[in-house]
């Protein structure tokens, strides 16, 4: 029904899509998987009209089409449910659903709100959402908003004669398991009216929902598997070009730790983020905080570092209770923070490698306020070698480095300053497999060297693989502690059970 034939797309320096053949049958759910940078998002953008292909052909029911923009794609029945919620929080649900399509309810520029509400109810019923269409969107839960997005896309149905193709980009990333079940149920029901393209990095969910799965690697479709033949390991193998197994997380390198306590929380609360959290982080330990999005893990890291002030409880670092909560004090206590938003809080784009590395240690690299640039550059060259950072020189702008190398620059910033407590928030987010392995290697190395590491991992597998200790946090509260000694590590299910 909907087909891409030999579609090509190039960007300066990147061949993003290489002769991609892709088709969706009526009522089918097609999965799309691939590592970051494999070309999934480019393919999605070509499908919903945000990018125009350089070569090849797009056909609907055999007829060639060309979209200049997403609106034209919508007019042909193709809609996109965005991963980052695209709803406007201070508008009502119905205003969001019909945003840009209000004309059907207007007479002389005045909107008939009743008619819109009635129409919105019909759309909401399609996704089994029983809420007042006049509700302000910000009051809804994430799961509800996701469904409203879906309802919004489904309004295409009323405007198009042909069949619908709906793209779901990581729709489950912020949902709890029960909500995922609900969404999947709705999607399966809706296959009577629409076909779906489902993009997710959660392999188990792709296997569960999809009829057929496209596997992408380096801009090309490397395999198409039917549900019946689908096997997670085989697909992962195709995605990365090698097996992913226990070796991956360097479990064999995990050594027992028995160090002194470097940092501790005693009944620490931060209003609106977490409550009554206690833990001890010891030298050589990798302590993983596990929980869903918004469970308060990030705030715990930021409170320990000094970027947020707890409302009550005692934070102790190296035997001393913390009274001043600023990042500067955190740095002074030997804490290194690797934030989740690497490009926003991690590196300063526009500053070069050595400037980024010394940013937290400027007093050390200056005399009387005047910089010792030669010393900075010497240190930077040393760390470029030690961590194998791929950069033309220490004077290259960090914005031009790959994600993995940027992450190494951030780690070098703290390691060169002698930090021995590391707070790592999603350190492997957005990195390719090779760069992830480098990060795992470095985490092991730092823990061997006696550093204490508080880790919010990107995936549960990562937390299980890397952690000496795993704490499950739910809704800002401590739920369960797991021992992460190899051989005794908890299963995914153990963790999920307490998370959601």
């Amino acid at each position: 029904m909907y087909a891409l034939e030999k579609v090509d797309k190039r960007f300066p320096g990147v061949h993003a899509l290489k002769a991609v053949d892709f088709h969706v049958n009526r009522g089918e759910i097609v999965g799309l998987v691939g590592e970051n940078g494999a070309g999934k998002s480019t393919l999605m953008k070509v499908i919903y009209g945000a990018h125009q292909p350089d070569g090849g052909r797009i056909a609907i029911d055999g007829r060639a089409v060309r979209f200049q923009n997403p609106r034209q794609a919508m007019d042909h029945g193709i809609g996109m449910v965005f991963q980052e919620q695209s709803l406007i929080a201070n508008l009502t649900v119905m205003e969001n659903i019909f945003l840009g399509f209000e004309r059907q309810f207007t007479a002389y520029g005045v909107i008939d709100w009743r008619a819109m509400a009635a129409a919105a109810r019909t759309e909401l019923a399609k996704v089994r959402l029983d809420i007042d269409p006049a509700t302000i969107t910000s009051r809804l839960s994430f799961a509800q908003r996701q469904l409203v997005e879906l309802a919004k896309v489904l309004t295409i149905e009323g405007r198009v004669d042909g069949d619908l193709v709906i793209l779901l980009d990581e729709p489950t990333s912020v949902l709890a398991r029960a909500e995922v079940e609900l969404l999947f149920g709705i999607v399966r029901d809706l296959t009577k009216r629409a076909s779906f393209i489902f993009v997710s990095h959660r392999m188990d969910e792709v296997l569960e929902l999809s009829d057929r799965i496209y596997v992408m690697k380096d801009g090309a479709v490397v395999d198409v598997v039917d549900r019946a033949d689908a096997d997670a390991d085989a697909i992962q193998h195709k995605m990365v070009g090698r097996e992913v197994d226990k070796e991956y997380y360097r479990e064999q390198k995990q050594k027992p730790h028995g160090g002194e306590v470097l940092a501790s929380f005693e009944g620490v609360s931060l209003e609106g983020a977490f409550e009554d959290i206690s833990f001890e982080l010891r030298a050589g330990e990798v302590l993983c905080l596990v929980g869903t999005e918004g469970s308060g893990r990030e705030a715990i890291l930021r409170a320990l570092y000094g970027l947020r002030r707890p409302t009550s409880g005692t934070v102790t670092v190296k035997g001393r209770p913390v009274t001043r909560f600023t990042a500067r004090d955190g740095v002074g206590r030997g804490i290194g923070y690797l934030p989740r938003e690497r490009k926003v809080e991690g590196i300063v784009a526009g500053m070069n490698v050595h400037e980024n590395m010394t940013l937290a240690q400027l007093p050390k690299y200056s005399v009387g306020g005047v910089l010792r640039v030669a010393a900075e550059r010497r240190m930077a060259r040393d760390w470029i070698d030690r961590l194998g950072i791929k950069t033309p020189s220490e004077r290259t702008d960090c914005a031009g480095l790959s994600g993995g190398n940027q992450q190494k620059v951030v780690l070098a910033k703290w390691r060169s300053g002698g930090s021995d407590i590391f707070l790592l928030d999603h350190p492997t987010r957005g990195l390719d497999i090779g760069a992830k392995e480098d990060v795992y290697e470095m985490i092991r190395e730092m823990s061997d060297a006696g550093a204490g590491i508080l880790l919010v991992a990107d995936t549960l597998e990562e937390a299980i693989g890397l952690g000496h200790t795993i704490l499950v946090i739910k809704d800002g509260r401590f739920r369960k502690r797991f021992d992460g000694t190899p051989g005794r590590k908890p299963s995914l299910y153990d963790l999920l059970h307490h998370m959601i």
């Binding site: 809080e345 590196i347 940013l359």
Partner: protein
């Protein structure tokens, strides 16, 4: 290609404009006349130099013109009792106003365009109150004794140019060779990363606005001595040109790139445009129309749209 050329736009523009003006009117390159043009623009240049620090961190300082106005009055009123010491008072006043704007911006979360606009009116009001709304003249003998050195000529080089060069060198050193300069760059290019690295971002911002205020005061002082008087409206017309000088020099409103050398080039561009308008006999009343449009063009060309994330209000 465009992105690679972008950093070179300011000086290419300067040479192209100077070439055009020179071709139309060869007397433009007459050294004596050129030196006069350059000397004339020195107070504006000093103001723009200070403003560069405010814009470099992604802010703006709209109070500079009013600080300069206030300083012309302070300098004129207190020259007689204080002599050259009036320079200290003037610069301290500019520093204080700038620091206050920085404090209001960083600690009270008032955007700098509002905090500096508001404090600018405070400065203007002080100028009006202190001058009694009259145009005051300096004590000629005291002026001669304390500040004649500012406007001498040694070996054919006007002292104003030497002062400008010295301040440029100082500003460049501050920006490129000091801890403060590095922190300034971090705040301009990635404030949140600077915060997460333990940089005292508030102090950096306060210092940047204080420098802007102090330089505005120096500009006002020079201008006042040059015209031998003070008046709450004396420096009017400086603000737009100072912003144009920084922006056409290649320091975008979004901050983080460019710097004081860019502002030197930008000021020269302003100078050439001004000279061109004189040759073209564009009336003084119409010149600000041109600069207003140049400013918009300069901002549109230099602003970093990726930093704005598509939102401009």
């Amino acid at each position: 290609m465009f992105e690679r050329l972008k950093p070179h736009f300011p000086w290419i523009t300067l040479f192209a404009l100077a070439g055009i003006v020179g071709a139309a009117n060869p007397s433009f390159f007459n050294p004596g006349g050129l030196a006069l043009l350059v000397s004339d623009i020195v107070p504006l240049f000093i103001m723009a130099l200070g403003m560069t620090f405010a814009i470099y961190i992604g802010g703006i300082d709209l109070s500079v013109q009013q600080i300069a106005n206030m300083v012309t009055v302070i300098a004129t009123v207190f020259l007689a009792p204080l002599g050259i010491g009036v320079a200290v008072v003037a610069i301290a006043a500019g520093l204080a106003f700038g620091a206050a704007a920085g404090f209001v911006t960083s600690r009270m979360y008032v955007p700098s365009f509002v905090s500096t606009l508001a404090l600018g009116f405070v400065a203007l009001s002080i100028a009006k109150w202190l001058s009694g709304q009259r145009a005051l003249s300096m004590d000629a003998a005291m002026r001669e004794e304390s500040f004649a050195w500012m406007f001498g000529v040694t070996a054919g080089v006007p002292h104003e140019m030497v002062i400008a060069a010295a301040l440029l060198a100082f500003a460049w050193f501050l920006q490129s060779r000091t801890r403060f300069g590095r922190a300034l760059k971090a705040v301009g290019a990635g404030e949140l990363a600077a915060v997460a690295s333990g940089i005292g971002v508030d102090r950096v911002k306060i210092a940047a606005f204080a420098i802007s205020g102090a330089f505005a005061a120096i500009a006002g002082l020079m201008f006042s001595v040059k015209l031998s008087g003070g008046d709450a409206n004396l420096a009017n017309g400086f603000l737009l040109l100072a912003i144009v000088a920084v922006l056409v020099g290649g320091t975008p409103l979004t901050g983080g790139v460019g710097g004081v050398l860019n502002t030197a080039v930008g000021t020269l561009i302003v100078m050439v445009i001004r000279a061109a308008m004189v040759y073209l006999e564009i009336d003084a009343t119409q010149q600000q129309m041109v600069f207003g449009l140049v400013l918009i063009a300069a901002i549109a060309l230099t602003i970093d749209r990726s930093k704005l994330r598509g939102v401009v209000k």
